[in-house]
């Protein structure tokens, strides 16, 4: 596809998501309000009220039911969308596993927010980390533009015949969701053409090969959401894992195709000045933008710093990360969540695995930061990079886990 003309509109992250979903026009949106996701639901309600979409909007009575309705809608062969945050995602937890195990290509936007208690409405990644192993693809966005772009790409990834998995598009609460940004948007018809209609894969059911849906005519019946014993359950899990692995390639392909259309290319990771870096900051989400500024300032001060932002946290791009950090001696892994009692933060555990068993790998340190919306500045990131370099020089034993910005 050739590059298309785009418009620039000032929108907050939530609005950008709602706008993208308006353009995609899914068949069913079932959602429940929760700060800082609410604006998505409100804006989309406006589109429904103004007759701008044909979507069936189900203003439902809980997040658990929101995702349950999406499961029903996607099983019926429709495109289904929802959005939530924090406690809402926690309430959905049970159905997360069902949606992915039933291989339903639902798209859900998560506006990352801390988990209670104490109740806190601001950003960290605890909510998404709690869903880490639920079988959903998790794409983390840095800014409003990426949130818009990813909310469009997600459908193509989820519905790819090799994938058939639900996708979470994660954006940071308030920092992205409520921050006004000038973003480029595609014309409606280009988005429509890019996502097309949902292709239905075919499966072999009890009455032969049929499209994967609850057939409204009843002529091609399927039984979905069945009961498996120890003689079959494991095989279905193995299939899901394979679909996750297949998604790595699909995320890149879709990102490339989208790039040709828009000039904005996306992949599994986002690399910033890593080629000659002596120290790299690795992390997720909006604060990696701050980290990039910090890297620039450090370079001005003579420290060759770079940033590796993980966009696809699930599936985790092990090979790509290993390749990107080749030659980087010191790595500061930033976790905006805790795994209480674990050996390190959740991202750090994955990063350690990336280099496990290799003869050579970087010295890695883990930094927990930003819980409950605690701000992190360029100076903080500079201090992190310097701390990591100093530690590496002095020699690091084991896996140090440090806290940034918490009062002692």
């Amino acid at each position: 596809m050739a590059r298309v003309e785009q418009r620039r509109i000032g929108m907050m992250g939530d609005e950008a998501v709602a706008y993208a979903i308006k353009q995609v026009e899914p068949d069913v949106v079932a959602a429940y309000p929760i700060t800082p996701q609410t604006i998505i639901v409100e804006r989309f309600s406006d589109y429904v009220a103004d007759g701008l979409v044909r979507t069936e909007f189900v203003a439902i009575e809980s997040e658990h039911s929101a995702l349950s309705a999406c499961v029903g809608a996607a099983a019926a062969g429709a495109r289904a969308f929802t959005a939530t945050a924090s406690q809402g995602l926690a309430l959905m937890w049970e159905i997360l596993y069902i949606a992915s195990s039933m291989r339903l290509p639902i798209v859900m936007v998560i506006v990352n927010r801390a988990l209670s208690a104490p109740i806190n409405i601001h950003c960290d990644h605890s909510d998404a980390m709690g869903a880490r192993d639920s079988g959903w693809i998790q794409l983390f966005c840095e800014n409003c533009q990426e949130a818009y772009d990813t909310a469009i790409q997600a459908w193509r990834i989820a519905e790819h015949p090799d994938v058939q998995l639900p996708v979470m598009v994660c954006l940071d609460g308030f920092v992205v969701s409520h921050t006004l940004e000038d973003i480029e948007v595609l014309p409606d018809e280009v988005v429509k053409e890019f996502v097309g209609e949902r292709p239905l894969v075919r499966v072999m059911g009890h009455e032969g090969e049929v499209p994967y849906r609850l057939d409204p005519t009843g002529r091609e019946p399927l039984s979905m959401g069945t009961f498996a014993m120890y003689d079959l359950y494991f095989e279905y899990k193995r299939q899901q894992e394979e679909a996750m692995r297949a998604a790595l390639k699909v995320i890149e392909e879709v990102g490339r195709e989208y790039g040709e259309l828009t000039g904005r290319y996306y992949g599994l990771i986002d690399q910033y000045k890593l080629e000659d870096a002596e120290v790299a900051i690795v992390g997720l989400g909006s604060s990696m933008g701050t980290a990039k500024d910090a890297a620039d300032e450090l370079r001005d001060e003579g420290i060759r710093a770079g940033v590796l932002r993980i966009r696809s946290f699930r599936p985790f791009p092990t090979e790509t990360v290993r390749e990107a950090l080749k030659g980087v001696k010191t790595v500061a892994v930033m976790d905006r969540a805790l795994s209480f009692g674990g050996p390190a933060g959740p991202l750090m555990m994955d990063m350690a695995t990336v280099f496990y068993g290799l003869k050579e790998g970087p010295t890695m340190l883990n930094y927990i930061y930003g819980l409950g919306g605690r701000d992190i500045s360029t100076d903080d990131f500079k201090a992190v990079a310097q701390d990591a370099l100093r530690a590496a020089e002095e020699g690091v034993e084991g896996l140090p886990v440090k806290f940034v910005g918490v009062r002692e």
């Binding site: 009890h206 069945t226 079959l232």
Partner: protein, 92 residues
């Protein structure tokens, strides 16, 4: 581990069922008694067909009740509910 079941590469996606339950012969569950239709008493009212929880009762060509012993679990509802006393539970 049942070797007759497919491996993960062959299994249909998403856990959909791929065999009808007619493979399960629930008639094997009967505990010593089975319903027998006394054709001379049966008027073909089909009450037993309506009330059988196991889809194991039908009407034969003569319009008389017929038991499918492959699936009849021997609950005895048909015998108890038959308005004409046309079904008897008989030791197997």
């Amino acid at each position: 581990m049942s070797s007759s079941l497919p491996g993960w590469k062959e299994l249909p996606m998403g856990g959909v069922a791929f065999r009808p339950s007619t493979d399960i012969k629930t008639g094997e569950w009967r505990l010593g008694f089975r319903p027998v239709v006394k054709e001379e008493k049966c008027v073909g009212c089909a009450m037993c067909v309506v009330l059988c929880p196991d889809m194991a009762m039908g009407l034969g060509e003569e319009g008389k009740a017929q038991v499918n012993y492959d699936y009849c679990k021997g609950c005895g509802i048909c015998a108890r509910e038959c308005p004409y006393g046309a079904i008897e539970m008989v030791p197997e």
